[in-house]
Symmetry: C2
Subunit: 207 residues, 2 copies
């Protein structure tokens, strides 16, 4: 559907705004806009303002840099969580993924990305300094590195490991191996190789 067919520049504007979002083309954008037109003026105002308010009022936890409504996020301020264990992740989506597993009761540290010289992201652009400060000043006993298994993820892991090593704490990384439900036949060689090298005692695997 080409642009000049719109009889209204307001309509055109609204369609263009939706079409800027990832994965939304002009046809879908038009469908969404026509849907909004059928809603009440109040509902559309609530819709539009939700994003404006989110963007202008959003805060990041000063401790872990996770998205938050308050200065200290709900996770960091929760006394029933294990404040001695900090899980280092790339972004807030990873926090949500790990929270959804309901297997982790410690705190997080959101780096805001990973070291990637190709994209011009260096250690200074990430929340690495604040992680080290946090480990030095707070009673952290274990740092779990939970970054992607990519070249950039490994680089970041090593960088953080070298910075933390002198601080005499336990540094771990999440287990790599064959995913639950996967068949060995289809696993890649590197993963299968690592899963054999890093094999665990049979009873441990059910912990």
């Amino acid at each position: 559907m080409s642009l000049q067919q719109f009889s209204s520049s307001l309509l055109e504007n609204a369609v263009n705004e939706f079409a800027k979002l990832p994965g939304i083309g002009r046809k879908t954008a038009l469908r969404l806009v026509l849907h909004l037109l059928k809603q009440s003026e109040y509902e559309v105002e609530v819709f539009g303002k939700a994003f404006i308010q989110l963007r202008s009022e959003i805060q990041y936890c000063t401790v872990c840099h996770n998205i938050s409504d308050t200065e200290i996020c709900q996770i960091c301020s929760n006394p029933s969580r294990d404040h001695e264990t900090v899980c280092v992740v790339e972004n807030i989506k990873d926090v949500m993924s790990i929270e959804n597993t309901q297997q982790f009761r410690g705190l997080y540290h959101v780096l805001g990305g990973i070291i990637s010289p190709m994209d011009g992201v260096g250690p200074k652009d990430l929340e690495i300094e604040s992680l080290i400060e946090r480990v030095q000043t707070e009673n952290v006993k274990e740092v779990i590195l939970a970054l992607s298994t990519t070249m950039e993820g490994d680089t970041t892991n090593f960088y953080i490991f070298r910075k933390l090593a002198p601080l005499n704490i336990k540094i771990t990384t999440i287990a790599r191996g064959i995913a639950i439900g996967d068949e060995l036949e289809y696993a890649d060689e590197v993963t299968l190789g690592r899963s054999i090298l890093n094999r665990v005692e049979f009873t441990n695997s059910f912990k």
Copy 2:
């Protein structure tokens, strides 16, 4: 991804608003919201306001009821279009579809729906009275009925036909038949039957 995992009610709100749109689930909604968070505050304000402004300032052309920024829409106010031919359509999407064919130079009349007793939509809920008034007061020579080929569409066609018949103008309906590129083998019987009954002179079909 469940709800309680969001560490921010602002984030939760924004995700909920996106997820209200048709065809957008909570996972996609979250992806879109995280995309917006990466944009500048100004860009997000422009985004949100585009919809609020559209909804509050949108007008409908007083002549054809198409969506418009002005009292009379661009199509109705264009002197180079054929003001003697009016094409009756169900909604503004149909106007766009027909405009995209670039085969029609007349004006439109948007009914705002079709007669559907099941959904409680009667002739009074549609812009049928205004169509008749328009034909009576303006120099309209032909009304083209371009509604869906459904029971409701046919009912609406007949209703309008009976109302317009005494006014002594040409009333036509868009051609039904085998779509260009379709194979006869897969056409339904009713369409194929109609396309034989309403066959056109061979030369006409290339006009």
